[in-house]
């Protein structure tokens, strides 16, 4: 009993933790394949690949990816060079200065990114003015500023990577090389650099990823060269559609791929070290590197799945399903329309009865019949609804049913025909009165076009 409870709690905790960690990404991934114009996982409409096409056709996204790569490349070079220098100096600096030095170079990691971006922008603007360069000069160039702004703190990441590696370095090796007659440059190139080689790889990868996903600093410095992150932020802030989810699917896929490759490589290196004849013999069916290496296995499954998906995507067409959904919506709208009409009818009858008691001579019931249907008639026309669903590119079409609904109701002719009929104003806000106008999807899809 006392053993089971902690285990259950641990399991529950792990479930919550990784649920929190992974479910947002999974849900976002699912929305990339739902044909609904607003990214959502439920209700499910149709399985589709169209958002990937939308993404590929978005030139702003593709242009910004190029910018991201340019910025990332420069940032990697500068940050790795500065980080290496920073780490090497740390090993040699006077002990008394070391703490202050470390504080200064580690500070950019802790300084808010917006502050780094602002200070870079202000500083180089000032230099630009001092040197009397034109306003669109080199020092105000978005790529130049972004690279420097990002390098300020990414160099510190790289430095941490190099420090970790340098801590395991035996400085006796360099001394031995010097004793044997090597020059300092030779000792550095032949002893220290080869030892640091793995650190160069990880520092470069970390620097590139950090540069690629940076937003806070870049948003102040990018000028006329928006990176992918900036472009994404613009899109997400001013209306969202599932092509962003599609991009997320690609990025998550690449991340998983990279992580698995790295893991498989590490495992393989580890296995090479202690592979024994016995181990190979015990698994005759699978090649040994697969049997002992779940990461490569996962990698192969992933690759097969990817190829399968691409092949499937070439042939698959959601047109039929979409037509079905459309039909479904039309039917629903029709149903709602009938319902509304019935309700109105009933109300009118009641009102008419009430009115009839008060003014027996009134002809209100007969008159009110027609204007009413006229008022709502347009709204309930299936064609209208289809237009709002089909054409998110025209925000005006959203507004039209609205004016239609109110326009008819507030027509003076209506009112005069319905003296004493209190039911009418209530009818307007009744559910379904505006069709799908208030459905979030409509608003969002309209919104997404405003940017």
């Amino acid at each position: 009993m006392s053993r089971i409870l902690p285990k259950t709690l641990l399991g529950l905790y792990l479930l919550i933790f990784f649920g929190y960690l992974l479910s947002p990404l999974v849900i976002m991934g699912i929305t990339a394949f739902n044909s609904s114009a607003f990214p959502r996982a439920a209700p499910w409409q149709c399985f589709t690949f169209e958002w990937f096409d939308v993404l590929a056709g978005d030139t702003r996204i593709t242009d910004s990816i190029v910018n991201s790569f340019i910025v990332g490349g420069f940032t990697v070079v500068i940050s790795v060079a500065l980080g290496l220098a920073g780490a090497l100096v740390l090993t040699q600096i006077w002990p008394r200065l070391r703490a202050s030095y470390y504080t200064v170079v580690i500070a950019p990691i802790l300084i808010p990114g917006v502050v780094l971006g602002i200070s870079t922008l202000v500083f180089w603007g000032r230099i630009n003015t001092l040197m009397g360069l034109p306003d669109d000069g080199f020092l105000r160039n978005g790529i130049f500023l972004t690279v420097l702004g990002q390098s300020t703190f990414i160099a510190a990441y790289c430095m941490l990577v190099f420090i970790a590696r340098l801590q395991r370095f035996d400085s006796g090796l360099t001394e031995a090389a010097l004793d044997l007659g090597a020059t300092h440059t030779q000792a550095f190139r032949k002893i220290l650099l080869p030892f640091l080689k793995p650190a160069f790889g990880s520092a470069a990868v970390i620097a590139f990823l950090a540069s690629f996903e940076n937003y806070n600093t870049t948003t102040f410095t990018f000028g006329t060269y928006p990176t992918l992150t900036i472009e994404l932020a613009q899109k997400v802030r001013y209306g969202i559609n599932p092509s962003i989810s599609a991009l997320a699917v690609i990025i998550v896929g690449l991340t998983v791929l990279g992580a698995l490759l790295n893991e498989a490589y590490k495992r393989r290196a580890a296995l090479k070290g202690n592979l024994k004849v016995k181990d190979v013999a015990s698994t005759p069916k699978l090649p040994s590197f697969l049997a002992r290496n779940p990461a490569s296995l996962a990698l192969i499954v992933l690759a097969l799945g990817f190829v399968g998906t691409v092949v499937y995507a070439q042939q698959y067409s959601p047109a039929q399903c979409k037509a079905h959904v459309q039909e479904q919506k039309r039917l629903e709208a029709e149903e709602r329309r009938q319902e509304m009409l019935q309700q109105l009818e009933e109300r009118r009858r009641k009102a008419a009865e009430a009115a009839g008691e008060q003014q027996p001579a009134s002809t209100a019931p007969a008159d009110s019949e027609n204007p009413n249907t006229g008022a709502f008639g347009d709204v309930f026309n299936p064609g209208n609804l289809d237009a709002t669903e089909e054409a998110p590119a025209e925000p005006e079409s959203n507004a039209n049913p609205n004016t239609g609904a109110f326009g008819g109701v507030f027509n003076p002719g209506n009112l005069s025909g319905e003296e004493g009929e209190t039911a009418e104003p209530e009818a307007a806000p009744a559910p379904g009165g505006f069709g799908d106008v208030f459905e979030p999807q409509n608003l969002e899809s309209g919104e997404s076009e405003q940017q």
């Binding site: 947002p24 990404l25 849900i27 703490a99 808010p112 003015t129 994404l232 991340t255």
Partner: protein, 317 residues
């Protein structure tokens, strides 16, 4: 002079020049001078380009005064626990500032509570296949773009998001809950973004803890919570403070998540800075606000380090 010659003797001329140039460029051109330029600008008036450097370009405290008391003629007055004073106060900016700091604290606390158990579990159990998978799962969300993470939370917490659909399906609520307006989505998204930065420092610290210490405490009859309170937490303190520092600084300085997940009526302090720079076109005031944010963060972090007796050198390990 002696030191400089020693330095070049140890490294050789080429390498020595590279080291000095590299570190000098980084520290002065990238780190210190830009901060000083920003500080300088924050004490100036917002002038059109033609007037910069002219007679009117003098130092002023206007921008900081604006942060504290608002525009001249601001009708809002400071009240302390209901006691009205005569001091004018910039209610909007100050409340956003205080709210940002408090919220960043809460996000840090949330991450600490969430991550400590896993860090302990990973640090104390031998990292086998499971541990490796866990670490892989931890790293993947971290490398997904910041914007996309916030976007994912917007999908999850939106009006027609999975949570609302699920809540309405079981019948807990009949109207969608507005998680965005209530800022729940924002806090969840911020906490999510910095999980890794909390977990790894703590994990690194706990990993080096000798299991025998825990065994000894258990043998001496200590209950589990006292083992953590008296043995594990004091040992892992540098890791905990390091993680908390990073999470606090990053969430106080976050911009993307508040822009995407923030409710329409609530701002994050970085958003106000952003507005002064972009829509406001008042770089001087934006710089002043950035300085306020920077100084506040540094003061808070230094105070915490002093309080918990942790040195700067232990951050970032």
């Amino acid at each position: 002079m002696e030191a400089v010659r020693g330095f070049f003797e140890r490294n050789g001329v080429l390498l020595g020049i590279y080291l000095l140039m590299g570190v000098g460029f980084w520290i002065f051109v990238l780190i210190l001078l830009p901060q000083l330029a920003m500080l300088d600008l924050s004490f100036r008036h917002n002038l059109p380009p033609g007037l910069v450097g002219g007679d009117q370009d003098v130092y002023t405290l206007d921008n900081y005064r604006h942060f504290l008391v608002g525009n001249p003629g601001n009708p809002d007055r400071l009240s302390i626990f209901g006691w009205q004073t005569d001091v004018p106060i910039n209610v909007i900016d100050m409340s956003v500032f205080v709210r940002t700091i408090i919220a960043a604290f809460m996000v840090t606390l949330f991450d600490l509570l969430l991550c400590y158990p896993l860090a302990y579990y990973l640090g104390q159990s031998k990292i086998g296949g499971f541990g490796r998978v866990f670490i892989l799962l931890l790293i993947i969300p971290y490398w997904v773009n910041e914007i996309l993470r916030a976007f994912a939370f917007r999908i999850v917490f939106g009006d027609s998001g999975v949570i609302n659909v699920a809540l309405m399906a079981i019948g807990v609520v009949d109207q969608p809950v507005d998680f965005i307006r209530a800022d729940i989505a924002l806090y969840a998204g911020l906490g999510y973004a910095y999980i890794l930065l909390m977990i790894f420092p703590i994990y690194n610290a706990i990993e080096s803890l000798d299991r025998n210490q825990i065994e000894a405490a258990r043998d001496l009859g200590s209950p589990w919570w006292r083992i953590h309170w008296r043995v594990v937490i004091p040992f892992a303190k540098p890791g905990i403070v390091s993680g908390c520092t990073m999470v606090f600084m990053l969430s106080a300085g976050a911009l993307a998540a508040p822009q995407i997940l923030g409710g329409p009526s609530s701002l994050w302090f970085t958003q106000i800075i952003y507005q002064w720079f972009n829509t406001g076109q008042n770089w001087a005031r934006g710089s002043a606000y950035a300085v306020v944010l920077l100084v506040a963060c540094i003061v808070i972090v230094l105070a915490l380090m002093r309080l918990f007796k942790v040195k700067m050198g232990e951050i970032g390990k």
